[in-house]
């Protein structure tokens, strides 16, 4: 079957995404065990990267990669090729309302999304905010005594506070929210690797963008390509594996947020 294939991500964007998520996963993997040193999984995770010093090294290097990608992204996308469709607008509020109505059975009409849904926009700016917070606080904590030449020690302790909270916040957003929407719900979504999405998905997820693209045909950003249907067995098996991993990561994150929320509420509110 020949189907239209739409280009969603350029090679440049895909490389940025791969660098960003690899460093993100490594950072989370080497960071959380330090926050909860007494948990059973902590020593296990640290041992799996070859000891504490490796953990620190990996954490620092991945941090640098993430800072590098973020800076590059800002320079490239804001200065070189600004995009305005990723900014929030009033339609997002309508979309959200419509989505909730649809979910709660008040309406049978699914909202029509453009290139980015409101959730994707929230995630995008969340990631941006997170990268800034994690980058700056991480640098302060990396060399506390250098930092203390310019800032009081209290500020470095605040950086630590930010670093933990934002790490949990970002991990929930990425490992639960983003992972579910983009990689689980749309299983097996390979657009992060190929950069392409099939017509079916384009129509389904981004109807407005689809209409726009079809209007501008053939100058629109599309290619004719062979689209292979995924083998149902492989998809089914993949989904089971994904579900298990997803549940494990969810419980881990929920446990961690419960722990730090409990402590914070006891200390600061009660």
């Amino acid at each position: 079957m020949v189907e239209l294939i739409f280009k969603r991500f350029t090679l440049n964007q895909r490389i940025q995404h791969i660098l960003f998520f690899t460093s993100f996963i490594l950072l989370a993997y080497t960071g959380f065990p330090l926050k909860f040193p007494e948990s059973w999984w902590s020593s296990w995770m640290i041992a799996s990267v070859g000891g504490f010093d490796n953990r620190t090294l990996i954490h620092h290097l991945s941090g640098l990669v993430m800072i590098g990608v973020s800076v590059y992204h800002v320079v490239y996308h804001i200065l070189e090729k600004p995009r305005y469709d990723v900014l929030f607008n009033l339609k997002d509020i309508d979309d959200f309302k419509q989505q909730m109505k649809y979910f709660l059975r008040y309406s049978d009409e699914h909202p029509k999304y453009g290139r980015y849904t409101f959730k994707q926009k929230v995630e995008y700016f969340g990631a941006g905010f997170g990268a800034v917070v994690m980058g700056f606080s991480g640098l302060l904590m990396w060399q506390p005594f250098e930092a203390m030449k310019y800032f009081p020690i209290g500020l470095i302790q605040i950086a630590g506070l930010f670093h933990t909270w934002e790490a949990v916040l970002a991990s929930i957003a990425v490992f639960i929210g983003h992972f579910y929407d983009e990689h689980f719900d749309k299983f097996l979504n390979m657009s992060w690797w190929t950069g392409n999405i099939p017509e079916e998905e384009m129509k389904h997820e981004h109807p407005l963008e689809y209409e726009e693209a079809m209007k501008n045909r053939p100058t629109g950003n599309m290619e004719h390509l062979e689209h292979k249907e995924n083998n149902i067995l492989i998809t089914g098996f993949g989904k089971i594996v994904f579900t298990l991993i997803f549940i494990a990561i969810c419980s881990w994150l929920v446990w961690m947020s419960y722990t730090i929320l409990y402590e914070a509420i006891v200390n600061y509110i009660l």
């Binding site: 330090l34 504490f52 005594f145 009081p152 500020l155 929320l261 600061y268």
Partner: protein
């Protein structure tokens, strides 16, 4: 926070004491039945006290002092009356019972004048003389099981020091008896630091209580000679192998345990950050799981699949 852990600690401390006493009692009872067998097996029959206090004696045998001190040095008594059922007598000839904490320091001073010279400047020693429950040599080093601090089983091995100090400094009943309410959250707060976390996870960087407070020259922060006096913090942190070359850094206030407060227009910045993130995370959890849940449930509705 502090309350939760220390309460348990307290209870544990008490239970442990009662347990220990009962155990010793049962132990003594059992041993009085077959003490002669035990003595033969261990080959320490020459120590008359072994018949009844075998656990302590075997601890002592493993300690650094096994060939340097004898039981009689601290307790008096006659070691030459050999073990038999009537060896209760050994505890009679000039037996002095338990030495007091102050006596112990004097005793150790005989052979370790350096350490005790320094120790006798410390707050622990000064308060000990005022009959407060402060630390004597044996509180930190152990009584009968003194080991080199390079031995991982030693109570003064770097990784065990925090627990050694916490025995007293996290013990609310012991500390509350003091008039000015010395803080009992020191171990809890230390646990939040990178120093603790890294050593707990097997990291090489270890700064533990005695590195910052000095093992023997422990002083109250307001003492100008104290290692934790704000004026001396740069030297303390800049010890060899630690933060060497910590120059003119901004350690203002120098709080390590209690986090330094930073104020933004009379609001505590830490409080603001924490409350901000509590709200954010609660909101995020609801939002994320809520949408996933709604998304899944709306999928079961075949008619509505768009």
């Amino acid at each position: 926070m502090g309350g939760i852990i220390t309460d348990r600690d307290n209870k544990w401390y008490q239970i442990f004491n009662i347990r220990k006493l009962t155990l010793i009692f049962i132990f003594l009872l059992l041993l009085s039945i077959n003490n002669s067998i035990a003595a033969e097996q261990s080959g320490t029959g020459d120590i008359s006290c072994y018949h009844c206090h075998s656990r302590l004696v075997s601890d002592f045998q493993k300690s650094v002092h096994f060939d340097k001190n004898t039981c009689a040095d601290c307790h008096g008594g006659d070691l030459n009356i050999s073990g038999s059922l009537v060896s209760i007598n050994v505890m009679h000839a000039n037996f002095t019972g338990k030495p007091t904490a102050v006596n112990i320091a004097d005793f150790c001073a005989k052979c370790h004048p350096g350490s005790s010279g320094v120790y006798e400047e410390s707050i622990h020693w000064q308060k000990l003389k005022e009959d407060r429950p402060a630390a004597s040599c044996t509180d930190c080093h152990g009584i009968h099981n003194i080991l080199s601090s390079k031995d991982p089983n030693s109570s003064t091995f770097p990784q065990n020091i925090a627990e050694t100090c916490a025995k007293c400094h996290e013990n609310q009943t012991r500390m509350q008896a003091l008039y000015y309410g010395i803080k009992t959250d020191r171990f809890d707060t230390y646990k939040k630091s990178y120093h603790y976390k890294s050593y707990k996870s097997g990291g090489g960087v270890i700064a533990t209580c005695s590195d910052c407070h000095e093992n023997h020259d422990t002083r109250i922060a307001s003492d100008p000679k104290s290692a934790i006096n704000p004026a001396n913090l740069i030297t303390t942190c800049g010890k060899k192998g630690c933060h060497e070359g910590a120059g003119n850094v901004f350690l203002s206030g120098g709080k390590i345990h209690e986090e330094q407060s930073v104020y933004l227009l009379s609001f505590d910045a830490k409080r603001i950050v924490t409350i901000f993130y509590i709200i954010m995370i609660l909101f995020e959890l609801t939002f994320t799981f809520g949408l996933i849940f709604l998304g899944i449930t709306s999928k079961f509705d075949i008619k509505r699949r768009h």
